[in-house]
Structures are given as structure tokens and as C-alpha cells.
């Protein structure tokens, strides 16, 4: 992409509270929208640790509030979409604020995600990490998620943000968030932990934070064809921040007011296939016919080894309608050339349908 003239601001406020970070997102969107500040790349860090839900999520369904309260973990709601996140003080976030019609930025969301993530992929490469974009919006290293992303817009300005797992306390995350593994055995929990990775694990050491930030900034600059200049908040932004902070600390914001009734049922099923046991654990919103997340384990071997991890990513927020599940699983097996001795696409489909069904209806689950 061609390097464009006007430099973008590189903003780094250091570690601040969840409400401060959420309020800042709103303030910068406002300021950019009224053309008071340049396009901006921002790093975000949190102190204390926090549990964040996506804009349309309900805190009570996504976060273990008692545990968070006991541990001093803040709870807040993002402006952006996506799922629940645990964000400890060692993680680094990145954000991009720019007009939607910025030359070179695609209008179609899936193309835009790819471009935004590519900047971070290139940045990670500078640190010696071979990462890739995985649709819909993850960045992965050998199939294991290292960065999740999401976005929003205000008028003609968009905000795209992502987390980067640098050094990660998985055990606290499992306790702070309501995830589809609460009732699983230790072996399965270990397998769940394998779904994510962090810089320290990939590299064998944790580079200094300044080096990580420099690499990400360079990667984003290169991919977007921009020049970044370090800068601070303008006076107008600082004034707005004081006002917005009150709102973003309020229960009204954190819990939302218009969220349509949602559900978050944890369902599990064991399915015996020729190749071994398939254990499926899902979070299901039955009313909306939505698999919010899926976790598939078992005593089988998949080739390529990352197939199941990629399938789980593909199933996130997908329809729980049996026909749709069958279509999705079949398509995935074909497009990814998945081979699992003794396990067919239909076995995975049946295991998922069993998990989606109510206990009493399980005898009705049939192959299509």
C-alpha cells in the first residue's frame, strides 16, 4: 500500500483502569469524528486486571462476578463486539481509529478484518513469531489463538481493536469468565488451555514491552502505508474524558439497558464413534439458535493436528440448526481436508447435535 502524507498519531497512555480505557475509545471516536484529531493507533493496557464483555453481551451470563469481586478484577463492557475477555496487567492491546473511507481500507468487513490483522501479523513477524489471520477475526500461531479482535464505528469513523497475549494467566481467566469448560475433567481443561498461546510460550522468553510495541507499530505502519508520530491527548479529549469516565463507570453502561433476552446454557455430550470418544461442550443460546462457543475433545487424532481448533473457531456464533451444523461441518472437512481415523464429518455433526439437544430429546438426534 502506498505511504500516505499525513502522519497518524501513536497514542500510548500506559496501564489504566477498564473504565478509563473504554471511555478513551469513545472520546477518540468522537474527536476523530469531528475532525479534531488525526487518525490514531493506540496501545492499551489495563490496571487492575479486568473482565470485559462485548457490547451486546450480558455481564451476568459471561462473567463470574463473585470471583472478580473477591480478586479485585474490574468488570466493564466494550464498545466493540465479540465475546468475554479476561485482561490481566501483562497483556497488550492495540487499536486503530480512522475514517471508513480511508483509501486502501476495504468496505466489506471480512476484508477489512484481514487487513487490520495483517499489520499485527507483520509486527509479530518482526519479533520472530509466525502468525496468521484466521477468519473471522483471530490471529493464530500454529492454530492457537494469540490475538482476538473486534470493532465498531461512529458515523464515518471506525475503531478496530485487538488483544495480544504476551504472558498469560490462563487459570485466572478460566475462573473469571463463564466458559464452556466449568464441568470438565482436568484432562479436558488442559486441552482447553492449549487453544490459546502467548508470546512468552511461543518465543521461550518475553521480549521487553517497548520492543513489542515498536514491532506492532512498525507492522501496522507497513501494512497500512502510514507514518506514526507519538502524541498525547488533546485538551479537548482530556476534558471529554473526565465527563465520559462517569458514564463508563456506571452500572447503566456496564450492564446495558437494551440487551434482548439472551441465554448461555452450558451443554455437554459424549458421542462414541468408531475412532474413539468425541466429547463436545458448547455454550448455547437456544432461543436465538446460536452456538456461542464450542469445545471439542476426545481420544482421536486429527490431521492436520490443528483441524479441531480451526473448526471450533468456525463454529463460534454459528447456527445451532441441525441442517446448518451439518452443512458447516461437511464444508469444513472438505475445505480443510480433515482426516480423523475412525471419525467422519457426520460423527462430529452428531456429537454437536447431541450437545445442542435437550437431555430428553437426545434419542431423536439422527444422521442426516
Amino acid at each position: 500500500m502506498e505511504r500516505m502524507g499525513t502522519p497518524w498519531r501513536l497514542l500510548d497512555m500506559g496501564a489504566i483502569s477498564a473504565a478509563h480505557n473504554m471511555a478513551l475509545d469513545q472520546v477518540i471516536l468522537d474527536a476523530r469524528s469531528s475532525n479534531q484529531v488525526p487518525n490514531t493507533v493506540r496501545f492499551l493496557q489495563f490496571s487492575p486486571s479486568c473482565a470485559l464483555v462485548g457490547f451486546h453481551q450480558a455481564v451476568e451470563l459471561e462473567v463470574d462476578e463473585n470471583y472478580c469481586r473477591e480478586q479485585g478484577i474490574e468488570i466493564n463492557r466494550r464498545l466493540t463486539g465479540g465475546g468475554n475477555l479476561y485482561w490481566d496487567e501483562s497483556q497488550l492491546g492495540w487499536e486503530i481509529f480512522a475514517p471508513k473511507n480511508t483509501p486502501g481500507i476495504p468496505k466489506r468487513l471480512e476484508d477489512m478484518y484481514r487487513l487490520m490483522c495483517e499489520g499485527v501479523v507483520v509486527g509479530l513477524e518482526r519479533l520472530g513469531v509466525k502468525a496468521h489471520f484466521r477468519p473471522t477475526n483471530d490471529i493464530e500461531v500454529e492454530g492457537r489463538k494469540i490475538s482476538g479482535t473486534g470493532g465498531t464505528e461512529m458515523g464515518d469513523i471506525f475503531l478496530y481493536q485487538g488483544s495480544l497475549l504476551t504472558d498469560f494467566d490462563v487459570d485466572t481467566m478460566l475462573k473469571a469468565l463463564k466458559l464452556p469448560i466449568k464441568k470438565l475433567a482436568d484432562k479436558d481443561v488442559k486441552s482447553f488451555k492449549h487453544r490459546v498461546t502467548c508470546l512468552r510460550e511461543v518465543l521461550g522468553y518475553l521480549p521487553p514491552l517497548a520492543d513489542i510495541k515498536a514491532a506492532l507499530a512498525a507492522g501496522i505502519s507497513e501494512v497500512l502505508g502510514i507514518t506514526l508520530e507519538p502524541g498525547g491527548l488533546t485538551e479537548i479529549e482530556q476534558q471529554r474524558l473526565e465527563k465520559e469516565l462517569v458514564h463508563f463507570q456506571s452500572e447503566k453502561w456496564i450492564r446495558g439497558t437494551r440487551i434482548v433476552s439472551q441465554a448461555n446454557d452450558l451443554r455437554m455430550a459424549d458421542y462414541k464413534s468408531r475412532g474413539g470418544l468425541i466429547r463436545v461442550s458448547i455454550r448455547l443460546d437456544e432461543k436465538r439458535q446460536l452456538i456461542k462457543s464450542a469445545f471439542i475433545t476426545g481420544d482421536f487424532f486429527a490431521y492436520p493436528a490443528r483441524s479441531i481448533l480451526d473448526l471450533e473457531a468456525d463454529l463460534k456464533n454459528s447456527s445451532s440448526n441441525p441442517l446448518e451444523i451439518a452443512k458447516r461441518v461437511n464444508q469444513f472437512f472438505k475445505s480443510h481436508n480433515v482426516r480423523i481415523p475412525g471419525v467422519e464429518a457426520e460423527d462430529i455433526y452428531l456429537a454437536l447435535c447431541l450437545a445442542c439437544s435437550r437431555e430428553g430429546d437426545r434419542n431423536d438426534v439422527k444422521a442426516l
Partner: protein, 139 residues
């Protein structure tokens, strides 16, 4: 250029990809086929409720797809008469039946002159072609 998107002739449109069906002093609105295609599978939808008023260009609601939260900006000013409760629970209907079951709101118009600022099907088609051409130029 042939377009793969449905653009019914009997509707108005705007550049935020709303379709608008005007019936006297009322209008029904929803997301166009082009709009839903760009947005992707919709997971969550929020809309203003009956009785609330909205100005043209003001936020009418929000939509989430693939972790993106987008604002829905009202194509016309007025008072919400009804929001489609079914589509709030099953927002994918916006994707599967954009001009039918996927409708979003029924509005009592505050100023029917605003209708003159909307795009006809022909003008909207031309606008989409311009957008697609720009995308192709970007590569």
C-alpha cells in the same frame, strides 16, 4: 456492471444501505441486500422502541456481526411506531429475508419532504456500482 444484489424497484434507499417503503405518512425500513451482504451474518440487533423519536442521521439502533458493532442511522426523522420484535430475537432474518421478515422499524414521518432526499432504486444501483468500482481499484 451486473449486480448480484436484489434492489426492488418499488422502494427508496439511502447510502447507509437502508431500504425505505413509504406509505403515506408512514415508512417501513430495513437493511438492503447490499447492506446485509457487507455486514455479514448478524448476531445481535438493537432498535429504538415504539414511541421513541429519531432525527434523520441519528442512531436508530446497533447491529453486531463477526465482532463488529455498527450503528444504524435513521434514513428519515419521525416517531417509531413499531420495532420488529421477531428480528430482534432472530437477527439473521435480516440476512435471509432482507426485504421481508427482516424488516426493522415502522416510523411515522415527521417531515415527508425528507423523502425527496432518498435514492430511487436506479440511483442506489448506480451508487453501489461506484462503491464496487472503488473497492476493485483498491484491490
Amino acid at each position: 456492471m451486473d449486480l448480484e444484489y436484489a434492489i426492488p424497484e418499488n422502494l427508496y434507499y439511502d447510502t447507509h444501505d437502508f431500504w425505505i417503503k413509504v406509505n403515506g405518512e408512514e415508512a417501513v425500513i430495513g437493511l438492503s441486500d447490499y447492506g446485509q451482504s457487507n455486514t455479514g451474518d448478524i448476531l445481535y440487533l438493537e432498535l429504538l422502541q415504539a414511541g421513541e423519536t429519531v432525527g434523520r442521521g441519528d442512531k436508530l439502533g446497533s447491529v453486531e456481526s463477526g465482532k463488529w458493532v455498527g450503528s444504524l442511522l435513521a434514513p428519515l426523522s419521525g416517531t417509531i411506531l413499531e420495532s420488529n420484535k421477531d428480528v430482534l430475537v432472530h437477527p439473521r432474518k435480516v440476512n435471509t429475508d432482507a426485504y421481508g421478515d427482516g424488516w426493522m422499524c415502522r416510523i411515522k414521518l415527521r417531515d415527508s419532504v425528507e423523502v425527496k432526499g432518498l435514492l430511487t432504486a436506479q440511483a442506489y444501483r448506480k451508487w453501489i456500482i461506484e462503491q464496487e468500482t472503488k473497492e476493485e481499484e483498491i484491490g
